[in-house]
Amino acid sequence: MTKMSRRFFKGMIYAFLIFLLMLSVVPFYLVMINASHSSFDIVTKLNLWLGDALAENYRTMQTHVNIWRGFANSLLISASYTLLTGYFGAFVAYGFAKFDFRGKKILYGIVLASMMIPSQVSIIGFYQLNLKLHLLNTYWPFILPGIASASTVFFMRGIITQSIPDSMIEAARVEGCGELRIFNRLVYPCVLPGIVTMCIFNFVASWNSYIGPLIIVSDSRKYTMPVMISMIKGLYLTNYGAMYLAIAISVVPIILVFCILSKYIVNGMTVGADK
């Protein structure tokens, strides 16, 4: 290729990348911009820069829907769920990585297979279970399953196998350390960085989950963020600016977390997938 045509080719590549970048980012930009415009502005013209109705939109939104309560509810669920996945993911992975027992292969096969189970198809049974256990309108149905997070077990098993030598555990046993203590004091702190990576994903997944809270929670004071957002239109609000603002509030925390942690997120994702 001549220098000219190579430059042209490179230019085409950048144009393509920038085009995709626009597609990825523009919807979020429009949300932020429209959140600061009055409903009238939004329906009468195209807004590309910040307006002055942010405070008014905020007041309108607050009188119709208590978005911060949804925010707090979602935070409570996601934080508890994430802590459970982190601790028990490593706990169970340690059992599979460092002990030999009968049926281990089959049991680990069940863990792997459970990742492939389409969860949406058992929602009727899930609803009936929680009805029977009197867990409707509580958060336990979304928090407790964190103890059985198959992807975290899978991921942590790899890390524990690689980074914890058997001799270290043996040494602790000789010292008279109990098995549970070995895990809590020795293994868990060693693999904490890996746990944190996994927890980012578990947090995002829990924060975004929609159909579970939709069927289990009917008390509007206990709505999670996604359920609240999905009911905003028609049910509570007709003001566009306020609706855009509500979406912005639901989206901004994730974008902020992503900007801070994107390095870990993009690298962490690939660990389990390339094997």
């Binding site: 590549i13 990348l17 995709l20 970048l21 990825s24 980012v25 919807p27 429009l30 429209n34 939004i42 009468t44 195209l46 028990f88 706990f91 169970v92 059992g95 599979f96 002990f99 027992f101 009968r102 281990k104 863990v111 459970s114 492939m116 189970i117 389409p118 198809v121 058992s122 929602i123 009727i124 049974g125 609803y127 009936q128 279970l129 149905p141 399953p145 059985a148 077990v153 098995e179 995002v204 924060w207 975004n208 929609y210 159909i211 069927i215 963020m225 996604p226 957002i229 999905s230 566009y240 979406i247 989206v251 974008i255 992503f258 997120i265 993009v266 994702m269 690939t270 997938a273 390339d274």
Partner: protein, 303 residues
Amino acid sequence: MRQRKGRRHTVSKSRYGYFFIAPFFIVFAIFSLYPILYTIFLSFQSWDGLGLVNSVGVKNYERLLKDEVFYQSLWNTFRMWMMNFIPQILTALVLSAVFTFHRIRGMRFFRAAFYLPNLITAASVGLLFNLLFDGDKSAMNHILTKIGLLEEPFAFFNSTVFASGLVSYIQWWMWFGYTTVIVMAGITTVDSGIYDAAMVDGATRTQTYVKITLPMIRPTLIYLSITSIIGGMQLFDVPATLTNSLGDPRKSILTTAMYLYNQGFRNHNYGYASTVSAGLFVIIAILSALCMSALQKKEREGQ
């Protein structure tokens, strides 16, 4: 004596293995396995959610096989999955080739930005695109009339083709960045010495990519296809929040997951909803198996 002590030691250790894995299986049995088994049981019953459960034999299944809405929902789901998955994998293959073979300034930034939509709450995304397109005075109608692509505002959500296409677009938009990252991870496992050898033999970059890289990352592509079809056939959040959650216009974006939700939690037809679940489960199993065997067959032919 010593030996016996040693053996006893391993026995007690292995018991601790069960102790460590027990929490997973207890919670899995309650919150995953029981719901599946109960859904299967309920698919042979009728239950309104409050009263008694009555056995109806295979009547629900007879109804399912004749249910046109069920078939339509399956077709909708599959169509919207296909229309998003093919562009998605093509975009990911092109992007990962670009990122692997060209030195792109800001590559990490682009990759991270493309991945961002994947992290956003799907329910928010649904409402967002609803607001952007719904009505004569929506943001998209303003943009398109301003730049002259449209003469007058278009009623996007009256068009079945548009609504279905928009769901596919949103799914593509949410997932192409993720797929790119995974494909690139697959590519990094390929030994780069193999490229040098191909280059020495006079192969172009494109030839190298298509003939060498793609066959080498087949396991990654199988993983992506299977997980995508399992997720795609359960599609719920985006189409349920994009329009009125009944799949309108004219049920064009009614997915099977939405249909079973509506049968259960709107019509309180929990028995029949379970039957729809069972039907969907069978379809997902068949499609995953087909997908797996198609890709493995190619592998055998290729060798």
